[in-house]
């Protein structure tokens, strides 16, 4: 008799731990990879690197390596019960995409030199990041569901929530960046998005993604105050480290960037207060509050997307990015507040629905 089996979804005790560590490594790897990717975009803007062997690529691919190790651990621990759990399968599929993107990216660099943000290997890479981070998140939830009962099954430790949600948020942001930033024109290909379509996608997708990820983080903690703020702070820290700090001319704007935490903490307070009636109000309100932060949270890169639509002939050089952005803050952003609030509410509702136990596991 196997004393360690707890029904069909259970793992042996040792495998149980390995499964959790694997999930954490899968998500941490994507966090590294996505952070490296974000730094890589900034590095291209500032230094125009010409070689594949740039420091951000090193971070990116060491993140991929970490995810591979995590995925192998998920696979080996799942084998102890004779079948691979679907979150582990998702993580494995994502890792397979990541691993296949590496050599193709190297070959693409070798054939076409400096590549743009959107290229076939980059798209495979970012798709792999989304799948793997989703695999990491659901694996952690799966691990949790194996040993606990009732509402506790769906709750994760705050640190695990940040490790699971942040990579997914960054990877989804990477997908949106790929289809909105005008960085994909090279000597050989022009994959730059249409400026109007890019603005429409950015104004729609970013508020949705922010609200969905942060409300998802709150839901996973049982709407405990602090978890949404912690996840938001981790995103802000990643943005500051990878997009602002490498550029000397943007250092003075860090206090402005940190202001983005005010609405996140406010939304967290709204979401965690349990006595609102009707019950849906905090979800709509928190989503709307989070949605309006998109123009700040995606600073400075978002400047390029909107500038391309407003004045295609004006170049956003690193040293004038803040100047152009603050001009947009007063002219463009006021027009975006209402739609971004609405899309934030939609994102929060979607996260709330997906966050229910029935829909995920």
């Amino acid at each position: 008799m196997d004393y360690f089996r707890q029904g069909s979804a259970s793992l042996a005790y040792g495998s149980h731990r390995i499964f959790l560590v694997g999930s954490i490594l899968v998500s941490s790897g994507i966090l590294l990879a996505a952070g490296g990717g974000s730094w890589d975009i900034t590095n291209h803007l500032l230094n125009k690197p010409e070689t594949f062997f740039a420091p951000p690529h090193l971070i990116l691919y060491s993140g991929v390596g970490t995810s591979v190790v995590g995925a192998v651990m998920l696979l080996t621990s799942s084998r102890s019960i004779g079948r691979i759990a679907w979150p582990a399968k998702l993580a494995l599929a994502g890792v397979a995409l990541l691993v296949s993107a590496g050599p193709v990216d190297f070959a693409w660099h070798s054939a076409f030199g400096l590549d743009g943000l959107f290229s076939p290997p980059h798209f495979v890479l970012v798709s792999g990041m989304v799948a793997t981070s989703l695999g990491g998140l659901t694996s952690m939830m799966y691990y949790r569901s194996m040993s606990l009962r009732g509402a506790e099954r769906m709750r994760l430790h705050p640190a695990l929530i940040v490790i699971a949600i942040l990579p997914l948020w960054l990877a989804l942001s990477g997908v949106v960046d790929m289809f909105t930033l005008p960085f994909s024109k090279t000597v050989y290909f022009n994959f730059d998005p249409n400026p109007a379509a890019a603005v429409a996608i950015a104004s729609t997708a970013f508020p949705f993604v922010i609200a969905a990820c942060l409300c998802g983080a709150s839901a996973l903690s049982g709407r405990r105050f602090g978890v949404m703020s912690l996840t938001g702070a981790a995103f802000v820290a990643t943005g500051a480290l990878t997009s602002i700090l490498p550029s000397d001319s943007l250092h003075s704007t860090i206090p402005f960037y940190l202001l983005g935490m005010i609405p996140i903490v406010a939304a967290d307070a709204v979401m965690s207060y349990r006595f609102w009636r009707p019950f849906g109000i905090p979800v709509y309100a928190a989503g709307a509050i989070l949605g309006v932060t998109f123009f700040m949270l995606y600073y400075p890169l978002i400047t390029h997307t909107y500038n391309e639509f407003i004045d295609i002939n004006r170049l956003v050089w690193p040293s004038v990015t803040a100047e152009i952005y603050f001009e947009m803050m007063q002219t463009v952003y006021p027009l975006l507040i209402a739609p971004s609030a609405a899309l934030g509410a939609v994102g929060a509702i979607a996260a709330n629905k997906l966050g229910s136990e029935r829909k995920i596991l």
């Binding site: 125009k48 005010i262 609405p263 509050i289 002939n313 050089w317 100047e323 603050f326």
Partner: protein
């Protein structure tokens, strides 16, 4: 109920502070305090191996660019050859720029009027080499070898442009001959005689 009202009030106040700071106070103060970056592009040295050569013989050209102003996000040194039909007779011997030199062929889209965005088609081959960024006071040099295709005067145009182009000092030279890009150039000529 009272807690809910307090919470709603606190959230409203926090959002009001957020919007006032991010929509008005910080953008206004940033725009008032911001000093535009003023890079100053210079071509500090041009050396030709000879002023007179025989047809078939190569001429060596060395061009040194300097940024005497604020750090430039990018500064270009351009060396144009109006007498060449194509770039096959140009060879980059060495350079210490941050990025690799680009060969611009006749018909390639290039920027004009110091705008930095492609707006005109190249009328003759040139070598464009740049550093991104180009630090304050830094100097970069490129050495070329060119083989003129015909006898007579072989003309070489040299210029440098720094970005962002915020003032007249961001380009060199500041006056004189204007090329097809509507930008000032310094002209050098080499007499090519029959062998």
């Amino acid at each position: 109920m009272q807690r809910a009202i307090l919470l709603a009030g606190g959230v409203a106040a926090a959002l009001a502070i957020f919007f006032i700071l991010s929509l008005y106070v910080i953008p206004q103060s940033f725009q008032q305090d911001a000093m535009p970056s003023m890079p100053e592009a210079l071509v500090s040295k041009v050396t030709l191996s000879s002023r007179q050569i025989t047809l078939g013989e190569p001429v060596s050209i060395s061009v040194t660019g300097t940024n005497a102003g604020d750090e430039a996000d990018m500064q270009i040194v351009s060396i144009g050859f109006p007498n060449l039909a194509n770039g096959s007779d140009i060879e980059v011997v060495r350079h210490d720029f941050r990025q690799s030199p680009l060969l611009v062929e006749r018909g390639d889209p290039v920027s004009g009027n110091y705008s930095g965005t492609a707006s005109v088609l190249a009328q003759y081959p040139s070598i464009e080499v740049f550093s991104r960024p180009w630090e304050q006071g830094s100097t970069y040099t490129i050495d070329l070898q060119v083989r003129p295709e015909a006898e007579g005067d072989f003309v070489v145009y040299v210029k440098s442009v720094a970005f962002p182009h915020t003032w007249d000092g961001a380009h060199y030279p500041r006056e004189g001959l204007v090329d097809y890009q509507q930008e000032f150039v310094e002209s050098y000529s080499i007499e090519v005689t029959k062998s």
